[in-house]
Subunit: 209 residues, 2 copies
């Protein structure tokens, strides 16, 4: 259901587009991530928790009984790209990384979501005043934004186990942010879930031609 | 003090650059707004409150006894420009305005600072689902960001009267956001304060040659 056949010139190829999800209250849309969720459910039909798919537009998805109950999207990755590449902070954010600075940013935003807004320009000020190098600024900015995301989704990850679906590096970053605050986290291989989801979709389509 | 003479080719012109302010804890810098604050203090030496200078980098400045006690910078205007012009939200933000949508955004962020992060992508979703036009999206985005700024600065504007220094349109927007929540707000003419501040600086320089 929801799969749309696309005309092809080569009769050996049959293309179907599987629709995404939309939610009316609160309004939200998903276009792509549902494939990975289908892959997760195909492999773990009993999964009862939150699927977190971090990225440009991070998705937090409540999955129970093989169904998506609700989901929420936060523009965390896009905000990081805009702020680090196109805002005044680009002069202060450089190469490199610091786990301690990332952790400090996460903790600041989780302890008080009001820390995000003043915490952004403080990166610029602290760099100008000579106390913050580019790698520390990058890591703290990432921590502040991911901390704000986690603060907004706190009721989800405190109530349910969280399966993180992402590249290995990004999944480890979210696990590092979540685990110290009591979340029960597992990491999933995003590419494997995408393939599993496509196989599951194909099986459904072939079962009802 | 802090005024640096600049060489000129024409002997009839004497140029001085007056330094800005820096603050070490929390780190912050000010480069320009101090002139308007000097103008405000020159006209109202007894001013005891907060000077709010909204804009690309909004400044909240505690002024007492003719001195700046502390200040804080928030990138509210730059975030609005980045999100409305360069993020995925640019497809949903259009011309037009709605006072009611602005007010809804302010109230949502003030009631819960965790509303900001999910509230951003919701603008895109709500527009895609057909329930939000471009002017309403623009006003709600502005309201969410200004509401987050006000939430972060709540202890300032609940404790002290606020003088807003900005263009008439921007000052009215901040007054509309602050006044319903109990703040004691006055609006100041930014250009008049700039000129008054420059005159005050010149008088100081001429008094001690």
């Amino acid at each position: 259901e929801g799969a749309i056949a696309v005309p092809t010139e080569d009769g050996r190829i049959a293309v179907r587009i599987v629709s995404g999800l939309s939610q009316s209250d609160p309004p939200d849309v998903m276009r792509g991530e549902e494939t990975q969720i289908a892959g997760l459910v195909a492999g773990s039909p009993e999964f009862d928790g939150i699927v977190c798919l971090p990225g440009t537009h991070s998705k937090w998805v409540r999955v129970q009984g093989g169904r998506v109950e609700w989901f929420r999207t936060l523009m965390t990755g896009e905000l990081f790209a805009l702020l680090s590449e196109r805002s005044v902070l680009r002069h202060s954010v450089g190469e490199g990384w610091s786990d301690a600075a990332f952790d400090a940013g996460v903790r600041a935003a989780l302890a008080d979501p009001d820390a995000l807004m003043p915490g952004l320009f403080a990166l610029r000020s602290e760099a100008l005043l000579g106390d913050l190098d580019g790698g520390n600024a990058r890591a703290r900015l990432s921590g502040l934004l991911i901390g704000a995301e986690l603060s907004a989704m706190r009721t989800a990850w405190t109530a349910y186990p969280v399966a993180i679906v992402a590249s290995a590096a990004l999944a480890r970053r979210y696990e590092a942010a979540l685990a110290p605050h009591g979340a029960q986290v597992t990491r999933c291989d995003g590419e494997a879930l995408t393939l599993a989801g496509l196989r599951a979709n194909r099986a459904i389509l072939e079962a009802k031609p």
